[in-house]
């Protein structure tokens, strides 16, 4: 099972490879990818360097082109595909049907992975991508339980990749317009959720307040840790009850599922976080590498170490982790 790590810049990419990633995924420096943040991602020159660094070490590079192409602007997405192919990417991660069609027609020999943003959650949808674009992998959204992933893995004509660790999208990816509803910008159109330019922090008599485009997302008392106001992780009111109505600040962590995922034949575990620092990538890659190697050495006696869990919890939103939808009780 491949360990697939994120990189938002060249130092993070090198760190990921040096700490045990089998493959790294990156995005270009524009709105063609779902982590379109200022100061992040790869221009043409850096893209070539990234490919060289990865390939010289016998590892793989995936390029995410996973926003939806704008009407009248499709050339930008096609150019992104051209550029990624030109530097020798090992795989294209694509969500848009039109972009997939372009890639499959123009570069039939370059691997195409269905991005998580395409929201492919069942066998018939997988068949759709297989039949139309001959895709080589599908990345599953974070909405399926372990049992559902197992069932799908048994019948899928295409190898599957799952999310293993990182910020937890609680909505079916690619089908969430909460961010554009509040700010005008969404992962699908702009490549960002709850964009930083709409965030405001304010000390008030009632506590520290975080707002997104003016909407109060959360208010913190002195003893509470304030987190980034991702709009689905704030505290809201439902019939006079104030709580995390959608989700708490928490990260996905599936270390304990390693034996299950391997047994099911999952081909790759993906670490979320192209927006994270090299230091973050280092710790996560190292921990996951250790865990995966430990399993390989001695599958029967595999047990998750407390130290691994602590390292990952410390890197997590709200310093807590969850199995998310993999665990039915979470749902």
């Amino acid at each position: 099972m491949e360990l697939l790590c994120p990189a938002g810049n060249l130092p993070a990419l090198k760190t990921a490879i040096d700490n045990g990633a089998d493959a790294v995924y990156i995005g270009l420096k524009d709105d063609t990818n779902a982590r379109h943040f200022a100061g992040l991602n790869f221009n043409d020159g850096k893209l070539a360097k990234a490919a060289d660094y990865v390939h010289q070490r016998g590892k793989k590079l995936h390029v995410a082109i996973n926003t939806f192409a704008h009407a009248g602007g499709e050339e930008r997405w096609q150019k992104a595909v051209d550029n990624a192919v030109a530097i020798g990417t090992d795989a294209l991660i694509i969500a848009d049907l039109g972009v997939l069609d372009y890639a499959a027609t123009k570069y039939p020999d370059v691997e195409r992975h269905v991005s998580v943003q395409a929201s492919t959650t069942n066998l018939e949808a997988i068949k759709f991508f297989k039949n139309n674009f001959d895709v080589q992998r599908v990345v599953l959204p974070r909405v399926l339980s372990v049992q559902q992933v197992r069932q799908l893995a048994k019948s899928s004509p295409v190898p599957l990749e799952v999310f293993a660790f990182g910020s937890l999208c609680i909505m079916a990816e690619g089908r969430c317009y909460l961010s554009s509803y509040m700010t005008g910008e969404s992962p699908n159109t702009v490549g960002a959720c709850s964009p930083a330019k709409y965030v405001r922090w304010q000390e008030t008599d009632k506590g520290l307040e975080s707002r997104l485009n003016g909407v109060l997302i959360d208010r913190y008392q002195e003893d509470e840790n304030a987190g980034y106001p991702t709009l689905c992780k704030g505290r809201f009111e439902v019939d006079n009850n104030v709580y995390h109505a959608l989700e708490e600040p928490t990260s996905l962590n599936t270390l304990e599922l390693i034996p299950d995922l391997i047994a099911m034949g999952i081909v790759s575990v993906k670490i979320e976080g192209r927006q994270r620092s090299p230091a973050y990538v280092e710790q996560v890659a190292k921990t996951w590498r250790m865990a995966l190697d430990r399993y390989q050495q001695n599958p029967e006696n595999f047990a998750v170490e407390g130290a691994w869990m602590n390292t990952l919890a410390n890197l997590s939103e709200g310093s807590q982790t969850t199995l998310g939808a993999y665990h039915r009780k979470w749902q």
Partner: protein
């Protein structure tokens, strides 16, 4: 331009659903969509009941009846029900997931691409047309400008006549889908033990900011907009750019009045001030969806 009544997104008792569609039959809608699109656990009406209802509604009327299907399908059992609805042999089907597109293509039957199918550009329209799409509902987060560019491109490419374009024009906007049931969570229940509690909330549960702003509406695993989308003032613009159908969502029986109001707006346009505390039109104007332009 025609007017459609979108599928009801909420969970209502069977007799109320039947009543509602009796009224829908008498309404001014040209097209009536019906079927469960949100949660497969909602079984007041099963597949055969929805198809039976579709037959009742279609009888002795010129209205077109379309069977809407689920958006987030996660299990083989859900796919089985989907196949049954797709292969109904009588009614056009609204696909809300690519699984339904795949099934309709295999059946060689035409379909409507619903609002949860991500079709943002010309190449994607072409892919879907090849599969058998005959009507396209624009994703709700897109703007009038975006639509105009795309429809002009379709005309230029010579494919505009191959599909009808429908725009979600009134009602709570379907914004997101999750594995988690937020209505069950609001009652401190797990989804597997939800006791079908969303039937208690015929218009969903309001989720407000701590300042009382209506942010979202919780509807099971679906999150809806807190404000009702209202494009009544944009009807002449939609008409001018060649939109074929305006969708009025079946939020409640208020939808029937809105169908009349929207139709009247085409004949006799009069500007209606949106109140900004319960209505919005931002998406169409390329600003935050919850805003009023």
């Amino acid at each position: 331009m025609k007017f459609s009544l979108g599928p009801s997104l909420f969970f209502w008792p069977k007799n109320e659903v039947v009543d509602f569609y009796q009224q829908a039959k008498e309404s001014s809608a040209d097209i009536i969509y019906l079927g469960e699109t949100v949660c497969s656990k909602r079984r007041e009406l099963r597949a055969k009941d929805w198809l039976g209802l579709a037959q009742d509604v279609a009888k002795d009327t010129k209205k077109q009846v379309v069977v809407s299907t689920m958006t987030l399908l996660e299990s083989p059992a859900e796919i089985q029900v989907l196949k049954r609805l797709c292969d109904n042999g009588e009614f056009l089907v609204e696909a809300n997931d690519l699984s339904a597109v795949q099934i309709m293509h295999e059946l060689k039957m035409p379909f409507v691409a619903g609002p949860a199918i991500n079709c943002y550009n010309l190449s994607t329209l072409k892919v879907l047309l090849k599969q058998g799409m005959t009507r396209w509902l624009m994703p709700v987060e897109l703007s009038g400008d975006w639509l105009k560019i795309l429809l002009d491109q379709a005309t230029e490419a010579g494919i505009r006549q191959q599909f009808e374009c429908e725009v979600f024009s009134w009602g709570y906007l379907p914004l997101a889908y999750s594995a988690r049931c937020f209505t069950a969570r609001s009652e401190d229940k797990a989804k597997d033990d939800c006791e079908y509690c969303c039937i208690k909330y015929p218009e969903g549960r309001r989720m407000n900011s701590r300042e009382g702003e209506r942010v979202f509406v919780l509807n099971g695993i679906q999150t809806l907009s807190g404000y009702q989308y209202n494009l009544i003032n944009e009807m002449p613009a939609l008409d001018a750019m060649g939109v074929d159908i305006a969708r009025i969502s079946a939020d409640s029986t208020a939808a029937f009045t809105q169908l009349d109001n929207f139709r009247e707006q085409l004949v006799n346009p009069t500007r209606k001030e949106l109140d900004g505390i319960s209505e919005c039109n931002g998406f169409w104007h390329k600003i935050a969806g919850m805003s009023v332009a």
